[in-house]
Amino acid sequence: MLARIKRFLGMEAKPKEDEKVPVEKKVPTEEKKVASEEEVEKVAEEKPKPRIGYIHLSGCTGDVMSLSENYDILAPLLTEMVDIVYGQTLVDRWDIPEMDIALIEGSVCLQDEHSLHELKEVREKAGLVVAFGSCAATGCFTRYSRGGQQAQPAHESFVPVADVVKVDLAIPGCPPSPEIIAKTVVAVINGDMDYLQPMMDLVGYTEACGCDLQLKVVNQALCIACGTCAMSCPTRAVSMTAGRPEVNSDRCVKCGVCYIQCPRSWWPMERIKKDTGL
């Protein structure tokens, strides 16, 4: 089954090289939280069928819908490879159980006690906490929240979950693509630390913005006019003018994907070599 899923994902691994070359981790960030490699390894070793929970904070359900768009592999993924033990929209259960992986969708509202409580409880009960989607990872468009609306005018402050609890992996994207979700789950099951390394590094990338293209790529003499950023923007806020990204900040939702997808932000050559056989 794993082989079939890997084939579907184009992850058909070439024979693994013995030496483990760590993937580049050059996502510049001021507050890099230490990701817990051991935790991932433990999940992979101890739980061949990990228990997964889905926690819905201030998100739009788009991330879990993206998960479900893995049509061809969804049924075997859900029934044979993982146990979904918790999650509104997925499971009829009200108390939070112990779980190996918690996928947290949405940012957290600091004025909403229930959300804070749920998040902290999940952190205690989950082996791995995953910031699932850009709202959880970077705040995304909830960064623009400022309160003053009925029925909770005081609900104004929304932050990425890593601001409140320790997060182990981040899968940004608005939404993350179905493929990256499936690839991440498969990598966790396999304990493929090389593949997961960027997701661990991205935990520290919580203050994302389209303007990062200018600050961290163009200003740093790294832009090469490839257009990958403009392609990856979900709101078409990025266009290319004279070979440089031009960000319409009125359209940018601060998901971070343009900078994450830029080949000049971090460069996973070892993984690409494995994937392409080159």
């Binding site: 608005c174 090469i224 006019a225 490839c226 392609m231 997808q261 971090w266 460069w267 070892e270 994937d275």
Partner: protein, 294 residues
């Protein structure tokens, strides 16, 4: 391995007289994309099509051979082709997309395939990725400087541009002019100075002029997809080949230029790291092979 992993190196050119006439070198990209389109290996291709200004390309989704051929010839400035891939899949509804890319663009595409964070259902639709060799690229205003200022020619009159034999060349209907490459220094895109890939090491197939005689291209087949489309096109008589050993200047020159680029740019990377500037690659002291692309 300054040329990356490849299966076979050959000197080749399109047998199509029309392609020969308009192509930069051997017309390999035009011939292969047209062939792949005819054979339904791809159902469209993202290419550097003509833009509003002469010699300022615009990425375009080509659905016919005519549109493909309109994109033939090198333009020494930016064409953000990767930008159009999503459009090719979404607006044009293509299932099998072909594209032509310089090394950094192949890097953007391959990274997106391995880590498609936000790019939904595009990675698996890239059916054919043809890479072209690239030493460096220029902002459009730099090109204008070379042509209009240094050579005193209006860009509209230029029929072809080329970099070779240490010079930047332009060809008009009745003239050929050049400036030494030394005069182009300082006008390059600075992002090119940390690039460790000369021959599009991650493409399905790479091609470029260096190593082969005028009118021919040096082809490196890399993946199964690249090798198979190339063989089919050769079998169909659309591409003729010669062993690299039989042509001059041959693979040695290609290897030398690749090594020069990597050596020079690795030095820039080392300097940047010493200054504390970000760069997504390793310092030479951290690498077993300082010329490897990471």
């Amino acid at each position: 391995m300054v040329l990356g992993t490849y299966k076979e190196a050959l000197s080749a050119r399109s047998t199509d007289k029309q392609i020969q006439k308009i192509a930069q070198d051997g017309g390999i990209v035009s011939a292969l994309l047209s062939f792949a389109l005819d054979e339904k290996i791809i159902d469209g291709a993202v290419v550097a099509g003509p833009g509003k200004d002469m010699w300022k390309p615009e990425p375009q989704v080509a659905l016919t051979s005519d549109e493909l051929l309109a994109a033939a010839g090198t333009k020494y400035t930016f064409s953000p082709n990767v930008w159009m891939l999503k459009k090719a899949v979404r607006q044009y509804g293509l299932e099998k997309v072909g594209t032509v890319a310089i090394p950094c663009q192949t890097m953007g595409i391959r990274k997106m395939q391995s880590y498609p964070f936000g790019v939904r259902f595009v990675a698996d639709k890239i059916a054919l990725l043809l890479g072209i060799y690239c030493m460096e690229n220029f902002p459009f205003a730099s090109l204008q400087t070379f042509i209009s200022e240094k050579m005193g020619v209006s860009p509209e009159l230029v029929e072809k541009m080329d970099i070779g034999k240490g010079k930047f060349w332009i060809y008009t209907a009745d003239d050929e002019l050049s400036i030494p490459l030394k005069e182009t220094h300082g006008y390059e895109q600075s992002g090119c100075k940390v690039c460790l890939d000369y021959v599009a090491e991650l493409a399905d197939l790479s091609t470029g002029s260096v190593g082969s005689p005028d009118g021919w291209s040096t082809v490196l087949t890399r993946t199964d997809a690249g090798e198979s489309v190339f063989k089919l096109a050769v079998d169909a008589g659309l591409i003729e080949t010669k062993p690299m050993a039989d042509v001059k200047p041959g693979l040695g020159l290609l290897e030398k230029l690749a090594k020069d680029k990597k050596t020079k740019n690795q030095k820039t990377i080392d300097e940047r790291i010493a200054m504390g500037l970000p760069v997504p690659y390793k310092a030479s002291t951290e690498k077993e092979d300082p010329l490897a692309n990471f």
